[in-house]
């Protein structure tokens, strides 16, 4: 099942598959992306952004890029009984990045969900200011890889002043039943002026073989719009993810991201927010629980380009087994972004002698009238709290579980969608009681 190939062989193998695919982006754009991917190559530990995130799994699984024609939608049956298929939400189910249906109409007025591959030229022109415009291919080999190989993109548009009552859920099903696959899903969300919505992304892997979801999502949050964005991954040891999410916010907008990761062999999340206006509120938060040989990595950036904005980042990690956690959060305050308030916190608990956490909270500040701070901690569970609970007659194991639960729940409680929140609270409790 696993034959090791060298990194350069792996890269070449992907490049060789380029011509056999019908890409989504314009040919010239795809070629440029391929060239960027080729010139950067697969990152190694010498690349600052991959210093702690080894990609050796890429050489192990003999991954192939999946083609649209190869997609087997039958896997949707396997997902039918999954609890996350049964929370209240309007769902878009993608198998290896593709939707079975071309008719993706939303039941809610003011919301359009469509496949970019179905767009005519006029429709394409309408999104030309958005699609691919917030991301850079240079020095981002996986965005370049996605751009070169993406074969479809889900486009969600929320019209001006629309308040979307039912959350929209994008379900990513990775399905690798005959060989290891890489899929390259693409998502574009446009929340127009004054709109409000909740978007849930969840990732689920099926099949006997390894899968790598190499996704790129672009979120545009217009003036005065408000977006809740939840990303849930509670997945198997064959699941690998490299995700890049770029969020561009305009004046007076609110964006709140909650990332809950409870399982998955390799999970690299990049979340970049650009605060491209004034009076913006931008909150990133997340909790991860890793065990076995899992690796969870979050790279975040809050890019303050204008004055009078506030950003908060709050990430927590609980690490068991031989697992590895990586946090790299950066607050960038550009020259004109006076009166910025930016806060960042990363707290980790190591529960095993073989678990490791690498954390790098960065501040890069070019404006003086700012209040910026960050804090990062790592340690065992607080003995004083445990003793307090034990002294009240609670067993030690139970006391530890209670405190761990409290750490995770602190983040999960930020999820406003009640069915999802309750489901996750229960999952966390089960996981920590194991």
């Amino acid at each position: 099942m696993s034959t090791n190939i060298s990194t350069s062989e792996f890269k070449q193998k992907l490049i060789n598959q380029f011509d056999s695919l019908n890409g989504l982006s314009a040919e010239s754009n795809r070629r440029e992306a391929l060239a960027q991917f080729d010139s950067y190559g697969i990152p190694t530990l010498k690349h600052e952004h991959w210093k702690y995130t080894g990609l050796t799994f890429l050489n192990k699984h003999n991954f192939d890029i999946i083609k649209k024609s190869e997609v087997d939608y039958s896997v949707m049956q396997q997902f039918a009984n999954h609890p996350l298929n049964n929370i209240e939400a309007e769902k878009v189910v993608l198998v290896n990045g593709f939707s079975a249906s071309s008719n993706l109409k939303s039941n809610q007025s003011g919301v359009t969900i469509s496949r970019l591959s179905d767009f005519d030229d006029a429709q394409k022109a309408q999104i030309s200011d958005y699609y691919g415009q917030s991301i850079k291919l240079e020095n981002n080999p996986f965005i370049a890889l996605n751009t070169a190989f993406a074969q479809d993109c889900i486009v969600i548009k929320i019209d001006k002043n629309t308040v979307v009552e039912t959350p929209l859920q994008i379900v990513y099903l990775n399905f690798a039943d005959t060989h290891a696959i890489i899929n390259n899903p693409r998502l574009l969300v446009i929340a127009e002026e004054g709109s409000q919505a909740t978007i849930i992304e969840s990732v689920h892997s099926f099949g006997e073989f390894a899968s790598l979801k190499n996704s790129v999502s672009e979120y545009y949050v217009a003036k005065n719009a408000s977006l809740e964005h939840y990303r849930i991954q509670d997945d198997s040891e064959l699941s690998h993810t490299i995700d890049f999410t770029q969020v561009n916010q305009e004046n007076d907008s609110h964006y709140h991201n909650v990332n809950v990761s409870l399982g998955g062999q390799f999970n690299r999340n990049n979340i970049h927010t650009l605060l491209n206006g004034e009076n913006i509120e931008s909150n990133l938060s997340g909790v991860f629980i890793t065990s076995g040989n899992e690796l969870f990595d979050i790279h975040s950036l809050a890019d303050h380009a204008f004055p009078n904005c506030e950003s908060n980042e709050n990430y927590k990690g609980i690490l068991l087994g031989n697992s590895t956690g990586i946090f790299n959060g950066k607050i960038l305050v550009r020259k004109d972004a006076q009166k910025t308030n930016a806060y960042q916190s990363n707290k980790n608990v190591l529960l095993s002698d073989n678990a490791s956490i690498f954390t790098k909270p960065e501040l890069e500040i070019y404006a003086d009238d700012v209040k910026c701070s960050h804090g990062a901690t790592s340690g065992a569970l607080d003995e004083i709290s445990i003793f307090y609970l034990v002294s009240r007659g609670i067993g030690r194991k139970k006391a530890e579980a209670m405190i761990l639960n409290a750490i995770a729940d602190d983040i999960i409680d930020l999820i406003k969608h009640e069915p999802l929140r309750l489901h996750l609270l229960e999952r966390v409790e089960n996981k920590l009681n194991q």
Partner: protein, 486 residues
């Protein structure tokens, strides 16, 4: 209270020479140089000039050959034009007067340089309680209190002398903490270093006075490569101070020093630096490129190494005084104030590598940026697998004076032991308008208010310095602040 009044910071502020860099004079003394450029012959020339034993020459050549394969590091947040390593002199020294036995024989011109710097070297005037090794253009020119230290068994001498008098110690320890393969500048230093200080404190000895090296760059177009090695045997203690100045010149000069500290069981080394190399002028012209590798190893159990630095000079500062906490229960500390103004760039911090059990480290970094400067803290706290119950606390604060400068924090925390506790905090802010107004209302001008607040902000670090250095450091901070309040 009386302590506070006597050590009155404000008197210092008032005494400030309201001048710019006051150590910027150049002294015309007779010097000899190696030919310009760097090759194996230059390395051999330096070794020959120093009459070094063969192990030293071999060591230098190994470093030189390794250096050829290395590249300048690029990860630091500083910009400077490509350095032409062939366009500099790698050896400059005052012309040797043979058979120099005591200070009375030192060239009076050299003594006068140090007198001008406030470091009198001759017997009548020398500073009480501080033994000084004076290093001019990387060559030690005089060491005071040698005899008194000898009585206690302490060796404090130029490293070029130690190579002859104690070759077994030099061979054993040189490069043991910072190997020649460590980084580009350490490799370069290993190949061409000309002098520096050597300190050896025998078992159980508490060094009776502060040891100090005063570095002075004088020659132009000359790279500066000193090497300092301090060994504290079991149960010993030493406090070592380092100061540095350079003439004002339009050209940039490279300074690539290496400092190695070894603390054995129960030993303690306290290493303090007030770095005041010429920072360049208001337009950013000239100044020292200060690329320095400083590292100490807490080799034995219960040992302690404490770094304190006040960095106000240099056009570029690149240094990360670090501690390898190998012995169980060993302690590493790093206290730093880095002030940048005009076009200065500083990328400085520390590394605390926890290897032994129950090791502790503490990092307090205070960055102050003004003018068009860039000031970065970069630090690593690494808790290895076996470093059970280890603890680290880091506090990294940045103060911005003006909206044209930058303040950055890049901490790396790598934790591989579950019983370790690591806490890192950082803040960035400007001086509160309310505090300035409060001080104004008490009759204090804005410029003095800023100096007062900055000194208060840096207090926790300044308090770590021996008194004389604390006084010097406060003056320097105030001078460096000049022109930063608009």
């Amino acid at each position: 209270m009386s302590q506070d009044v006597k050590d009155d910071d404000q008197l210092l502020l008032e005494n400030l020479a309201k001048s710019e860099y006051k150590y910027g004079f150049f002294s015309d003394i007779e010097q000899e140089f190696a030919p310009k450029g760097l090759n194996e012959d230059i390395v051999r020339f330096i070794s020959l000039k120093k009459k070094e034993p063969e192990f030293m020459l071999n060591w230098r050549l190994k470093a030189y050959r390794h250096w050829l394969k290395m590249k300048e590091p690029k990860w630091q947040k500083v910009n400077f034009p490509q350095i032409d390593y062939q366009d500099a002199y790698y050896y400059a020294a005052p012309v040797d007067k043979p058979g120099l036995k005591d200070l009375n024989e030192v060239d009076p011109d050299i003594l006068s340089i140090y007198e001008k710097l406030g470091i009198p070297l001759n017997e009548q005037k020398k500073l009480q309680g501080i033994a000084v090794d004076a290093v001019l253009d990387s060559v030690s020119v005089a060491t005071t209190f040698k005899d008194k230290l000898n009585e206690a068994g302490i060796i404090f001498c130029p490293i070029s002398e130690a190579v002859h008098s104690h070759p077994e110690l030099v061979e054993k320890y040189l490069g043991s903490v910072v190997p020649h393969t460590d980084n580009f500048f350490a490799a370069l230093n290993s190949a061409v270093f000309s002098d520096g200080s050597f300190v050896y404190i025998p078992k159980g000895v508490r060094c009776p006075m502060e040891l100090s090296t005063y570095f002075r760059i004088n020659a132009s177009n000359t790279g500066q490569f000193e090497r300092t090695l301090i060994i504290a045997e079991e149960g010993s203690y030493v406090s070592y101070l380092e100061g540095c100045t350079a003439p004002m010149r339009d050209e940039n000069q490279l300074h690539a020093a290496v400092v190695e500290l070894v603390a054995h069981k129960n030993a303690e080394i306290k290493y303090s630096t007030v770095q005041n190399w010429y920072p360049g002028d208001k337009e950013g012209k000239g100044g020292i490129y200060n690329f320095v590798t400083k590292r100490g190893i807490c080799e034995g159990a219960n040992s302690k190494i404490s770094w304190t630095q006040v960095e106000t000079g240099s056009s570029i500062t690149w240094k990360y005084p670090s501690c390898i906490l190998k012995g169980d229960n060993s302690i590493g500390e790093f206290y730093s104030v880095a002030m940048t103004n005009n076009y200065q760039q500083a990328d400085t911090g520390t590394k605390m590598i926890h290897i032994g059990k129950n090791t502790k480290s503490r990092i307090v970094s205070k960055g102050i940026s003004a003018g068009f400067s860039e000031n970065s803290y970069r630090g690593l706290v690494k808790i290895t697998k076996n470093a059970s119950k280890s603890r680290n606390f880091s506090q990294c604060d940045s103060l911005l004076l003006g909206d044209k400068c930058g303040a950055h924090t890049f901490p790396y925390l790598e934790i591989q032991n579950k019983s370790a506790t690591v806490e890192h905090e950082a803040t960035t802010s400007k001086i509160s308008e309310d505090i300035i107004f409060y001080l104004n209302q008490r009759g204090i001008s804005t410029e003095d208010a800023v100096a007062l607040i900055v000194n208060g902000y840096a207090k926790e670090v300044l308090n770590q310095l021996p008194m004389e250095f604390a006084v010097e450091a406060q003056k320097l901070l105030a001078i460096s602040l000049e022109g930063s309040v608009g």
